[in-house]
Symmetry: C2
Subunit: 238 residues, 2 copies
Amino acid sequence: MKEHTSMPQYRRLYEILRKHIVEGVYKEGDLLPSENELCATYGLTRPTVRHALDELVKDGFIKKQKGKGSIVHPLPKGIGILSIAGTTSALGNRDLKTRILVKPEIRPWDESFFFPLPEHVRESGCIYMERLRLIDGKPLFFDITYLPNINLPRFTSRSFENRSLFDTLRSNYQIEVTGGEQRLWAIEADEQIAAFLQMQPGEPVLHLERKIDTNRVGFSFFSSLYCNTSEQALFGVF
Amino acid sequence: MKEHTSMPQYRRLYEILRKHIVEGVYKEGDLLPSENELCATYGLTRPTVRHALDELVKDGFIKKQKGKGSIVHPLPKGIGILSIAGTTSALGNRDLKTRILVKPEIRPWDESFFFPLPEHVRESGCIYMERLRLIDGKPLFFDITYLPNINLPRFTSRSFENRSLFDTLRSNYQIEVTGGEQRLWAIEADEQIAAFLQMQPGEPVLHLERKIDTNRVGFSFFSSLYCNTSEQALFGVF
DNA sequence: GAGTGGTCTAGACCACGCA
DNA sequence: GCGTGGTCTAGACCACTCT
């Protein structure tokens, strides 16, 4: 996967450092090079370097300590789904598999969709897909994605088995995720969810509804997610 | 409550704007003054103003749009507990009450505490308290707080009925919350939790364990929280 | 005292929205 | 074309940690 040359410099540095952390070049508890060293190494000024480090803090990879340095965080033991980075990148090196239950298809939006929709989005219909995510062979969460059917040529014929949705959007459509909001509930699994997640109906599952904003104005997409937290916790930083 | 004059300027501006939003000076969908206007009004430069706005984005009060401006977010309908701002400030103007179930008391740390503790923290013992939070008279979540018993004179004799923990730490001990991490599960309510939250045992509740870091190095505190999400969702931005 | 991150200034150029 | 936020430079001073 090729990076865009138009990627901002702070983002480029973020990706480099993140990769080094995930691959173990810097280990838990290590200090990253100081901000001034990073400036010199990559030919950037301090605000730019600091911007990159702030993103790493936000996504939970490091913490900073005045007078000391930037300290590498332990890789989370749970699923880092609460931050912006997307599901795939939040897992470190673990074995995440995706099974497509419903391939992307165009259908009308649900009448009572869980987020309010602008009229032009509602009219153009919805790209719908269902995916099951497995870690180490065990089903962990079930994800329904809803995208506005606007300017996404050939989207329904793409494969998502081995590719994250966020990457596909970035590489093929220059759509970057910039933020979003989410709501969480603890609910009882119904028959269908229980079957997907290999649980008993009535057992508690975590339900997440998210609206995900992008750099394309007016283009947000949505995800409804059911997670079996009996073995893996969800994880987040703040 | 008096603000410290030592508060950074970006933080001062953040508090001013946040207050205006929560009090309705700027309403949902309104544009904040542009960054350049804010610079002029408050005598700051753009990076400082941008820092303040970035914090508002992080805490879900505004979103920014290139070429347009900073747009005020709807005040969340759920409980904004997933961000750093602390429970109290995340609720807007709603009627949040706190009932102290166990007043702060010093006891040893649990042998199998949910986060690893440095030895000197473990030795000095733990300040323990239990609180029940009610919204509009209904119990919403039950919160156990664990603080290291280090340099917190007279802490156990303070009252927390009408005062947030974060404010107390800041005003009386100059301790600022800088970040933290959290884990989430959906679990079945046990007898005690169900009684506190006025639910049936076995109903799903959301369980949150958090480690909260501060500007005092080595000083983190902890919270274990059970939330009834049957009527109110938890809410967060990313 | 030397080095670190935290805050802040004073500019610059760009891409995007809106009219 | 103008104003907006997004990115970036090149400095400065401070508080803190470590030795």
